[in-house]
């Protein structure tokens, strides 16, 4: 497969899928090594950089997703009207913040920081796929430890956890 063919094919896959596609999926699909996949993605990214392009590629951990540029928001909203993206509640955001910065973290540790019971919020976050169980502590009761998911990165437009704003 020629390099230009691979680039074109990856672009087509990202377009039809809508959701993010992992590099691993692409290497398996095209029977290519990671390097050529990354090279193709870089070619696409450079092509979209121009002011005359309305889309770009967003990295989420080891996946890529074709998304519109923030500058296009007003046109898209006018076209699709009404379109609402749901903001999460303060309780959910606060709990998610603690998990994002302190992961892996148990429910007890979360509640100690927040000072309130967090049962309901944690199950809501699990339900929405923003967090997941990542392990268990070896202390009595073997409490579940939580961490964030790729869905979390996607929601905040982060490529990985290193992009979280610094605290303290």
């Amino acid at each position: 497969m020629e390099v230009y063919e691979l680039t074109a094919a990856i672009e087509a896959i990202l377009f039809v899928n809508g959701d993010s596609v992992s590099v691993k999926q692409l290497t398996e699909l095209f029977d290519a090594d990671e390097q050529s996949i990354y090279a193709a993605i870089e070619t696409l990214q450079r092509r979209y950089e121009g002011e005359d392009s309305g889309i770009c590629l967003q990295r989420i951990a080891d996946s890529y997703q074709m998304v519109t540029k923030p500058k296009m928001a007003s046109y898209i909203q006018a076209f699709l009207r009404p379109v609402y993206k749901k903001q999460m509640s303060n309780a959910m955001l606060e709990t998610l913040t603690v998990i994002a910065y302190k992961q892996p973290v148990t429910k007890a540790e979360i509640e100690d920081i927040r000072g309130v019971n967090s049962d309901k919020v944690i199950s809501l976050l699990l339900e929405q796929g923003l967090i997941k169980a990542v392990g268990r502590l070896s202390t009595p009761g073997r409490p579940i430890q939580y961490g964030t998911t790729d869905e979390f990165l996607k929601h905040f437009g982060l490529s990985d956890l290193k992009e979280l704003p610094k605290i303290e």
């Binding site: 959701d19 540029k69 905040f156």
Partner: protein, 243 residues
């Protein structure tokens, strides 16, 4: 003084305390927690007047603040060392340390909210779940029934019987429980029995001792209790002392 902010606007007692500290225009490190105890209590009683569902966490913090306030009224015993160290047992230091940590996360949450809002400007194509299911991996095992039998026996030999685990009963002092109720009644005119025992996860022994405490307080004329109907919530009322 009137307070227009409703309690349910706060995520919890720590959030409310941070707000009160901000109102006083002081830093966490500089404020004396005893000074904002009054404002905190004002919120709690207002919420109770409005029959709001007050979570037990607010009450626990109220008790902590009262403890801090009462300590602040007592003369300070001279400390052994000259230099000021953070005293882990000091409830004020402990509460302040928690507030510091909480405020850091609250700020980080505000940052994330901004990122969330920025991400609202980004759209994707309609997400189609067209991905193929994960291929089933087949692992070949070269073994027969006898191998399995032997393997299982080796496993059984390896497992040692677990040592019996002793559960120690927690001693609950009736006097201590009476004092807890007395303290709560000094803060609140009306308390719900269910709320209190919920703090002990409805542990049977705690429920019994708590109930005995209520009976004891009724006997000594410090409280009375009623239920609107059988098996309804048990409400405990403070009785004003006549002099």
């Amino acid at each position: 003084m009137s307070y227009n902010v409703k309690l349910d606007a706060f995520e919890g007692p720590l959030d409310l305390l941070l707000y009160l500290i901000k109102q006083s225009k002081l830093e966490i490190t500089d404020i004396s927690m005893a000074d904002i105890t009054y404002q905190y209590m004002e919120y709690i009683s207002q919420a109770q007047d409005n029959n709001m569902d007050l979570t037990s966490e607010f009450l626990v913090t109220a008790a902590t603040l009262i403890e801090i306030k009462s300590r602040s009224l007592l003369p300070n015993p001279p400390k052994a060392g000259e230099d000021e160290q953070v005293d882990d047992a000091d409830p004020e230091q402990r509460l302040k340390a928690r507030l510091q940590v909480y405020s850091v996360y609250k700020e980080a949450a505000a940052h994330l909210r901004m990122m969330e809002q920025r991400q609202e400007m980004v759209f994707t194509g309609p997400v189609r779940y067209v991905s193929k299911p994960e291929p089933i991996r087949i692992i070949e095992i070269n073994a027969n029934a006898e191998d399995l039998f032997n393997c299982y026996h080796r496993l059984l030999n390896r497992i040692k019987p677990a040592a019996p685990y002793n559960v120690k009963a927690e001693a609950i002092s009736l006097n201590r429980q009476i004092n807890i109720f007395k303290r709560l009644l000094s803060l609140f005119e009306r308390i719900r029995f269910g709320r209190i025992v919920a703090r002990y996860r409805f542990d049977k022994a705690h429920v019994v001792v708590s109930f005995l405490s209520v009976l004891e307080l009724m006997k000594s004329g410090e409280a009375d209790a009623y239920q609107s109907k059988p098996f309804a919530e048990l409400i405990i009322n403070r009785i004003k002392r006549r002099r």
